[in-house]
Amino acid sequence: MKIKEGFVLRRVMGKAVVIAAGNAGETFHGMIKLNDTAADVWQWLSEGCDIAQIVQKITEKYDVSAEKATADVHTLLDKLRAEGIVE
C-alpha cells in the first residue's frame, strides 16, 4: 500500500490539501482536503508505514481505540484507492 508518485500534501491556512503533479495530474484533477488524522495517516503512509504501524501511531497520538482506528484507516484508504491515489 503506497501513495502513487506525484501527489503532494501541504497545509494551506492550516488545512491539509492534496493535489497531483505531473502524470498523476492527468488522471486526477482538483484537490482533496484531509482532516488532521487523515493528514497524519498520509504522512505515515508516505514514510512507508504499513496499516498496523499506522493504527498504532494513531492510538498513541489520539484518544481512540485500536478497533476504531483500524476501521477509520480502512475507510480512508478505500476512499484514496477509489480516487486512484494509493496503490
Binding site: V12, A21, G25
Partner: protein
C-alpha cells in the same frame, strides 16, 4: 533558427529561446541585456509542446502558441524564486496593487476597465490577465509580464499587493472580507500548478503565504460606478475620490 534574447520579469532574468522573432517582439517592453554572471532561468520549448498548445487553444497562431509554451516554461521554474503565475487582473492605485480573480468570462477585464473609467489616470493596469506574484520579505509583489490576455493590458511594473478579490457577477454591489480557508479551492484554480512535484509543493506554500499576508475579499458587482466605489472603499480603505471624469 533560434532567436535568443533576455527577458526581465519579477526582478528575474530569463534567457529566452524562441524560433520566431515574434516572441521577442511580443516581449519588447521587458527586454534586458543577458547578464554576464548568468541568468536566473532559461526558457525553452519543443515543437511537440507547441503542437500540443496549438491543439489546446482554438484559433491561435503557431507563434502565439510558442509564446504561451515559453511562459509555461517560465512558470514551471518560478517557484524556485518564491513566485507563481496567477490568473487575475491587477491594477494599481497609489503605491499598491489590487488583484481581481475569477474564472475566465466572469468580467475581470470589464471591472478593471470601470476603475479606469471612473478613477482615470490614478489607476494603472499592471497586468490584465496573468501577472506573476512573488513573495517579498513581508508581503507579496504583483509583477507584470507581457502575457496579459487578449486585450494585452500590461505595464512593466512591480507593485506591492494591497488586496486580493474574488469577483462574482451580481445584481447588487457588495463586498465582504473573506476567510481564505473557505476559498482555497477557488484560489488553487487561479494559480499555475507546476507539473514538477517539488515545484507544486512550493506553489502550495506560496498560496498559503498569499492567504496569510494579503487580505481577501469577495465582491459581487454589476457594471456601474457603484461597483467601483464598493470595491475601492473596502480594498483601499481610503475615501472614494470625487473625480468622475476620465476615460
Amino acid at each position: 533558427m533560434a532567436n535568443i534574447f533576455g527577458l526581465g520579469i519579477a526582478d528575474l532574468s530569463v534567457e529566452m529561446h524562441s524560433r520566431s522573432p515574434f516572441v521577442e517582439h511580443f516581449c519588447h517592453d521587458y527586454l534586458i541585456d543577458l547578464p554576464s554572471h548568468g541568468v536566473d532561468m532559461i526558457a525553452v520549448t519543443t515543437e511537440e509542446q507547441v503542437d500540443e498548445e496549438l491543439r489546446a487553444v482554438e484559433g491561435t497562431s503557431r507563434e502565439n502558441a510558442e509564446s504561451l509554451c515559453l511562459y509555461r516554461a517560465i512558470a514551471e521554474q518560478l517557484p524556485r524564486f518564491d513566485a507563481a503565475v496567477f490568473h487575475g487582473a491587477a491594477i494599481s492605485y497609489g503605491d499598491r496593487a489590487f488583484l481581481f480573480t475569477a474564472p475566465s468570462g466572469t468580467g475581470k477585464s470589464t471591472h478593471i476597465k470601470l476603475w479606469r473609467k471612473y478613477l482615470g489616470d490614478a489607476v494603472d493596469i499592471v497586468n490584465g490577465d496573468k501577472p506573476v506574484l512573488r513573495l517579498t520579505e513581508t508581503g507579496v509583489n504583483v509583477c507584470s509580464t507581457p502575457w496579459a490576455g487578449k486585450e494585452r493590458w500590461h505595464k512593466n511594473r512591480i507593485v506591492p499587493l494591497g488586496a486580493l478579490c474574488l469577483l462574482k457577477r451580481g445584481t447588487v454591489n457588495r463586498i465582504r472580507r473573506a476567510d481564505p480557508t473557505e476559498h482555497v479551492e477557488e484560489l488553487l484554480n487561479q494559480i499555475y500548478l507546476p507539473k514538477n512535484a517539488e515545484a507544486l509543493g512550493t506553489t502550495l506554500e506560496l498560496l498559503d503565504q498569499l492567504c496569510r499576508r494579503v487580505p481577501l475579499f469577495v465582491l459581487e458587482c454589476d457594471i456601474s460606478e457603484e461597483a467601483v466605489r464598493t470595491a475601492f472603499t473596502a480594498m483601499t480603505q481610503e475615501p472614494y475620490p470625487n473625480q468622475t471624469e476620465g476615460n
